[in-house]
Assembly symmetry: C2
Homo-oligomer: 566 residues x 2
């Protein structure tokens, strides 16, 4: 021991530590469980308003302190019923107060909220409920009949709680049904204890839409949802403060409502829940009535609202910023919001597997020097990876591609809120270094702005080069007379794959092969020009997207069709 | 197995799970290590400017990509030297590029940065270096002579690196000394591997000032610093975006520079490092030259800058917001910034033990309805607990006090960046529920705004009621003729304690006991009136604060002094 101080606790024996001895910090063990978010809001912003639009368009209200009380009462009732750590609770609900109550009531005791899309048919719902193994369902009365169709095929479901909507709590098959009121009767609110489990505990289960193959479940943890909310709400991200009033139009069954169920209480922001009425006129009224400053939705919802505002000249009140995600944002939408309405547009890109946010069109230091058109173009991109999401693009050689806005690669991501393994899967969904392949092909510019150019399965790999089917389709649809265009790859002995264009044209005087090619020649590299063009109707899938699987079944046989581009 | 789906992976045996089975989420294991922050900046904002003011006032610049390269080169040199996980590296440096390089170079390989205050004397520095067990010191050349005074009393120090300043790398006692350039020569930059350890690994060590007893070390982890930065930069907190240019005037040896070494690269913000020149004129030039939008400092620095601006009429360029912390903010400073300069003031409250931020004067939804005076008053408070910090005030009965802005209690906090145990201590510094007692007495208002009323050890506990020594001192100093006032508790057989006022008055015609009491009577409750008043000089400690320990030694004996307030 030396004369003038104490030895540190990790130096033993020799006064000079030989290095390499692991030392842990001495800070608090404070698990990031989601109940703490609502507890924070109840404690520091207890009276902040939560408004809800009822199905008839009228508005009712609550606040964070009351929401916490109700969620705790539900927790007590769930615990009294025997629901606990790891039990799955399926929900068939809109964005409303009962859904928020189930959300925190279940997660607070370590149960798992499995959000189901109410628009799904009964067979698909049954598949999802069975795959998740839901013990309890909490539903809006309007979906009771749908569930009746499959009631005898839900062996894990013990009980159904009708939490909202009109309808008597009648049995569904042999499954017991109760109203939320009756179910709550069983629990003593003061008996509810939240948290106390570790932050890796599962909190939510959300299935990908599964356009190919079976849906895949993403099992979020308390930690991943907590960090996702904190990170998404960085100043470069959603940037929601206590002064905001937020309207999550994006449903809670759509990847955690992009985090809004957590971000609003975390920030102490006002929260507006729209329920099932999402038409332009209803949303416009709600936005004005509640002084909404920020709203988040998919492009189709915004199209509807913009049309309504254009047609009626109605105001959007205090609305200052909108988040558009879930699908690519048309440049015209960015322009209309910014220039016609003075509303800032944030374009977010994400996936269920990313909790969901991966990238966002944050404002860059150079933006003041850009023209309006340049800003619109930039915001129409998918945005920059938001800290701490790591994003990279990788070529066919597995090497990272440069950020030159020209070299496309497979977009891969890592982060604390990115999926590692799908629910029930035997293997991880990531590579040895932890990268999750998004299935998208992208380019990245010098500022880190990502632009998706195609789905990996749709890109045409011709002689080692990648041809974007989406871009080729967009150019082809710009050709007069072409109503809809689809591009798929067809096998080619020399190039591996070559593009086939399926063109659905106007009746009668449609364009010829040659006029389409003439239109494309100045727009794309020569090797992008379609190998063949087929005039046929382009089939759409259930979600309105081009059904490329059907097209591949029909056309991807090189010998069946005639070459046009020799 | 039922006909229409797969069993989930956690349902075994009975199709109906009996509940209570723990389920872990299936998201990525992505440790929150601090190297990822600079890696993010280098990857997405690599060319964002880092400016540094040299001691002569000239400016040099780097960027995040270069900083990462330099820090990795240092990591390689440290590893080649034999420094690794858990080794402590002491720094005696200003806020400059070498300090940032050591910061990330050491933390990236799991070594611990122990920041030392260069203003300390040699004996105190030796005590701290020995308590920490630093193996390596990285210092500015100007401190070499200070270290020479104690060179024979630093048994754990193997090597000293001169990283900045002018001076030859001469031996310090028997300790080997090299320049940073020579030290770097040993390492191969490409050999550096960052991260790969778990997030609880220690990253930094900072000692409290220790106004009573020995200094106490707070050993931060990667996780606690990472979360502190993310949380401090919420929109309700510092709210720094990529478009900001930040100037951390608060030194890196002062509780991690309040997080700025992490927040700036996390946000991709421009970073300006002021070096040792912190006078008003130098800071004003720097702020204008670099387009600083946000700066953080203690009140004395701001006083100096405000005086300079008032006297010269100089501009503060793009400066839009300032963070004031480290000591209570005078209302007049808030007013001057807001009303005279149009600059927003954020008042932050924290402690080394909190990493440091605990509360901040975030803007509330009702602020638009307040008068300018009400806003100033609110911002002069210590602010609201910033998510996820949990704060409560507790009375003498150990029960939580109401948020009525009137009932004072001991301020206690919990959170992921709050100390659990001091470095080298045998026991935790928290109670059984994890609460850390800050040693402050506070009231909290209905909006959650905290106001510190006294240090717990200074409050006078009279008949079960608490009398704020600070408030009583402030009122006494408002009495004409009183130059300085101090209040301490003296034992009282009936009330337990009663306040003694020590008044240092103007020469000659000073106020009488009775005139001071007459001044105080309308301002405080009757039981607050000093039991006795002593006219004497009020001693100040080394940091300019009233030395209450000395006063207690001198005066806290009831029989030595005469009662004035019977």
């Amino acid at each position: 021991m030396h004369p003038n101080g104490h030895a540190g606790p990790y130096r033993q024996g020799s006064p000079i530590c030989p290095g390499g001895k692991r030392m842990r910090g001495l800070m608090q063990n404070w698990p990031m469980t989601l109940d703490r978010i609502l507890a924070h809001a109840a404690s520091t912003s207890g009276s902040r308003r939560i408004a809800m639009q009822r199905p008839d368009g009228s508005i009712t209200a609550s606040d964070y302190a009351s929401l916490q009380d109700e969620a705790k009462a539900l927790s007590a009732a769930l615990a009294a019923y025997g629901i606990g750590l790891g039990d799955r609770i399926g929900t068939l609900l809109w964005n409303d107060l009962p859904h928020m109550t189930v959300w925190y009531g279940a997660m607070g005791i370590g149960a798992v909220v499995h959000t189901l899309n109410p628009r799904f048919d009964a067979v698909r719902l049954a598949w999802l409920i069975n795959h998740a193994g839901d013990r309890l369902l909490v539903v809006d009365a309007q979906f009771a009949d749908t569930l009746r169709q499959v009631a005898d095929r839900l062996p894990t479901v013990e009980h159904i709680v009708i939490a909202s909507g009109k309808g008597a709590a009648l049995p569904i098959g042999t499954i017991a049904v109760s109203s939320l009121e009756d179910f709550l009767g069983a629990g003593d609110p003061s008996a509810a204890v939240w948290g106390g489990f570790d932050e890796e505990t599962a909190a939510g289960l959300c299935y990908t839409s599964g356009t190919t193959g079976d849906p895949k479940g993403v099992l979020y943890s308390h930690r991943s949802n907590f960090l996702h909310a904190l990170c998404s709400n960085q100043p470069n991200g959603f940037a929601i403060a206590a002064t905001d009033v937020v309207l999550p139009i994006v449903p809670m069954f759509h990847a955690n409502a992009w985090g809004w169920t957590y971000i609003a209480p975390m920030a102490g922001a006002g929260l507006v829940l729209p329920g099932p009425r999402l038409d332009g006129a209803s949303l416009q009224r709600l936005i004005v009535a509640e002084g909404v400053t920020f709203a988040a939705a998919v492009p189709t919802v915004w199209q509807d609202l913009l049309r309504h505002v254009r047609e009626t000249g109605a105001s959007l009140g205090r609305l200052a910023r909108v988040l558009v995600g879930g699908a690519a944002v048309p440049s015209e939408m960015v322009r209309a919001f910014r220039e016609d309405l003075g509303i800032e547009v944030m374009h977010g890109w994400g996936m269920t597997e990313l909790s969901p946010l991966g990238a966002i069109s944050s404002v860059m230091p150079d933006e003041a020097a850009l023209t309006a058109q340049e800003v619109v173009s930039r915001k129409a991109r998918q945005g920059r990876a938001l800290f701490p999401v790591e994003a990279r693009i990788v070529g066919a050689d597995d090497k990272e591609c440069p950020h030159d806005d020209a070299t496309p690669g497979s977009l891969q991501v890592r982060g604390p809120a990115v999926v590692r393994r799908y629910y029930g899967a035997e293997e991880d969904a990531v590579d040895a270094e932890g990268w999750f392949d998004t299935g998208d092909i992208a380019v990245i510019d010098g500022h880190g702005f990502i632009k998706l150019v195609d789905r990996a399965k749709d890109v045409v790999k011709s002689g080692g080069e990648w041809i974007s089917s989406v871009e080729l389709e967009n150019h082809a649809m710009g050709c007069p007379g072409v109503r809809r265009a689809a591009v798929i790859a067809i096998p080619d002995p020399r190039w591996g794959e070559r593009p086939l264009l399926i063109a659905e044209c106007d009746e009668g005087d449609g364009p010829s092969d040659e006029s389409i090619l003439a239109h494309l020649r100045p727009l794309v590299p020569k090797y992008w020009l379609p190998e063949r063009i087929v005039f046929a109707s382009v089939p759409l899938g259930a979600t309105g997207k081009i059904d490329k699987l059907a097209l591949r079944r029909l056309f991807a046989q090189p010998l069946q069709i005639e070459a046009v581009n020799d």
